[in-house]
């Protein structure tokens, strides 16, 4: 193997699938072969059976729907607040000086540690779940967008000014389009993190959702259901990632030209 040498599309897909096959085989051998006790780890067949049971008998689709809505709801709220703020911070240095230290501090506050407080403030309803996602995502997005916008090529900004652009014109017609692909990429990344917050939010004080199902299954020692829940999260993540990536490719074709 040569460093950085590209490989063909077909080989890439096959190798990607191969690792999934290896992973599930190893799991199958460990559990079905009797090397690991079923109390600790269910085998793949039990997992699939549990999954079918959850979907058909337990209304698990509703749980999935609830979780997806919470992630998207909290994430969209964070996006609406954070993207304009991030752009403003990147573009205008006094705003950056005002907010950057606080946002850098707030970014390290763990969203999950807010759950007890949020229950106190917002109860155990949907608002509390959305707020967990919101807190977890908003500061990250602000900071990353601000960094992206500040690092816009200076010569492009200067070129716009010599073409008669106003200050607002530079923000709207240079800083924003120049960084749109980076901002989309930041959102894709943070959406992935939002998934980990939602499950934590659902482990405490929830009555629906994938996280709720997982904590319920723990009481029943149903490891097959837990694993099924985890795999469902992984699959949704994979699908949303794929959707995001192909949308970005469509929207920002100039980058790949």
């Amino acid at each position: 193997m040569r460093p950085l040498e590209p490989i063909g599309q077909q080989a890439r897909v096959l190798l990607g699938i191969l690792f999934f096959v290896l992973f599930f085989s190893a799991w199958g051998v460990a559990t079905l072969g009797g090397f690991v006790s079923p109390t600790f780890l269910a085998d793949p067949i039990t997992m699939v059976k549990d999954g079918i049971y959850l979907l058909t008998e337990q209304g698990f689709m509703t749980d999935i729907g609830m979780t997806v809505w919470r992630v998207l709801g909290g994430f969209v709220l964070a996006m609406i607040v954070a993207v304009p703020l991030g752009i403003a911070m990147g573009a205008y240095k006094p705003i950056e000086a005002l907010l950057e230290p606080f946002v850098s501090f707030a970014r390290y506050l763990p969203a999950s540690a807010f759950i007890p407080l949020l229950i106190l403030w917002a109860g155990i309803g949907e608002m509390q779940k959305l707020l967990v996602i919101f807190i977890g995502a908003v500061f990250q997005i602000i900071l990353m967008v601000a960094v992206a916008v500040s690092s816009t090529r200076r010569d492009l900004v200067e070129a716009a000014y010599t073409l008669g652009a106003t200050d607002r014109g530079v923000v709207r017609r240079v800083l924003m389009p120049a960084n749109a692909p980076d901002i989309a990429e930041i959102l894709r990344l943070v959406l992935g993190w939002a998934w980990t917050y939602v499950i934590v939010a659902e482990l405490i004080g929830a009555s629906s959702g994938i996280g709720y199902m997982i904590i319920n299954s723990q009481a029943l020692m149903a490891t097959g259901q837990i694993i099924f829940g985890i795999i469902v999260i992984g699959l949704i993540g994979l699908i949303s990632d794929f959707a995001f990536k192909s949308l970005n490719r469509k929207l920002f074709a100039w980058r790949l030209a």
Partner: protein, 261 residues
């Protein structure tokens, strides 16, 4: 009528990390007439780009003023079109949209705007590439687009900062002819910064040479070669004489500049 008046303009950059302030440009006076084609020639670091950036309004002079048609320059504006050495096309816009950038900012009606845009795309020979993205074009084509983008705004003066510096020799020669052809037809006021002596002589009606840092104007040489100029003029005795004279002048400055490291 004199168009651009540079009066006592100097630029001193503050010292970095507590170091000494650096004077890039000594107080400079220069008057540029309407429709003049002036090239500013000097070794690297002589402050020629600094002077151009001050005229563009992208940098502020430490002392002195620059006035364009009697109005003092306070910042960048559409009346001074600039072409940079680096490729500064907006990568998210097609060639056509890039050329339209300034017109759109001014709110020119769509029909008129696209007519102007297409005429300048024709003038720089990029018809057929209107809908390409900058990345898909060669360096020479990108700089041609940048020239069209600046011209489409109909500026009073064109400022070019070593626009062909990154191009190979053959392309560079063709670009010089293209720009000169446009100037001969449209009669714009042009200030062109370069460190290439042949380039400076070929295009200019006056060549301004500058000393090593801190820069000041060393000499102003009129170039009385007839227009339209063909590239073969570079082999003429008059051209060679001018080139030799300027080579002598710049050489001593380059030695000083190289000594400073």
């Amino acid at each position: 009528m004199s168009e651009l008046i540079i009066k006592g303009v100097s630029r001193t950059f503050p010292g970095v990390h507590g170091g000494q302030p650096v004077q890039a440009l000594q107080p400079t006076d220069l008057t540029i007439e309407k429709n003049d084609f002036v090239t500013i020639l000097g070794p690297s670091g002589c402050g020629k780009s600094t002077l151009l950036r001050i005229i563009a309004g992208l940098d502020r002079p430490t002392t002195g003023t620059v006035t364009l048609e009697g109005k003092e320059i306070k910042g960048p504006g559409a009346d001074r079109g600039m072409v940079f050495q680096s490729y500064t096309l907006f990568p998210w816009l097609t060639i056509r949209e890039n050329v339209a950038f300034g017109l759109r900012e001014r709110g020119v009606p769509a029909k008129e705007m696209w007519e102007i845009v297409d005429s300048y795309i024709d003038k720089v020979g990029l018809r057929g590439f209107q809908n390409h993205w900058p990345k898909q074009l060669s360096g020479g084509m990108q700089q041609r687009t940048a020239i069209a983008r600046a011209l489409a705004n109909d500026p009073k003066i064109m400022l070019l900062d070593e626009p062909f510096g990154a191009l190979d020799n053959q392309t560079r020669g063709l670009m010089q002819e293209l720009l000169l052809g446009i100037w001969e037809r449209e009669h714009k006021t042009v200030i062109f910064v370069t460190h290439d002596i042949e380039e400076a002589v070929f295009m200019a009606s006056r060549v301004v040479t500058m000393t090593a840092r801190p820069g000041r104007i060393k000499s102003i040489t009129p170039v009385d070669l007839p227009h339209p100029r063909h590239y073969t003029i570079k082999a003429s005795p008059e051209f060679s004489a001018l080139r030799l004279k300027l080579t002598e002048e710049i050489r001593s400055e380059a030695i000083v500049a190289a000594g400073h490291g």
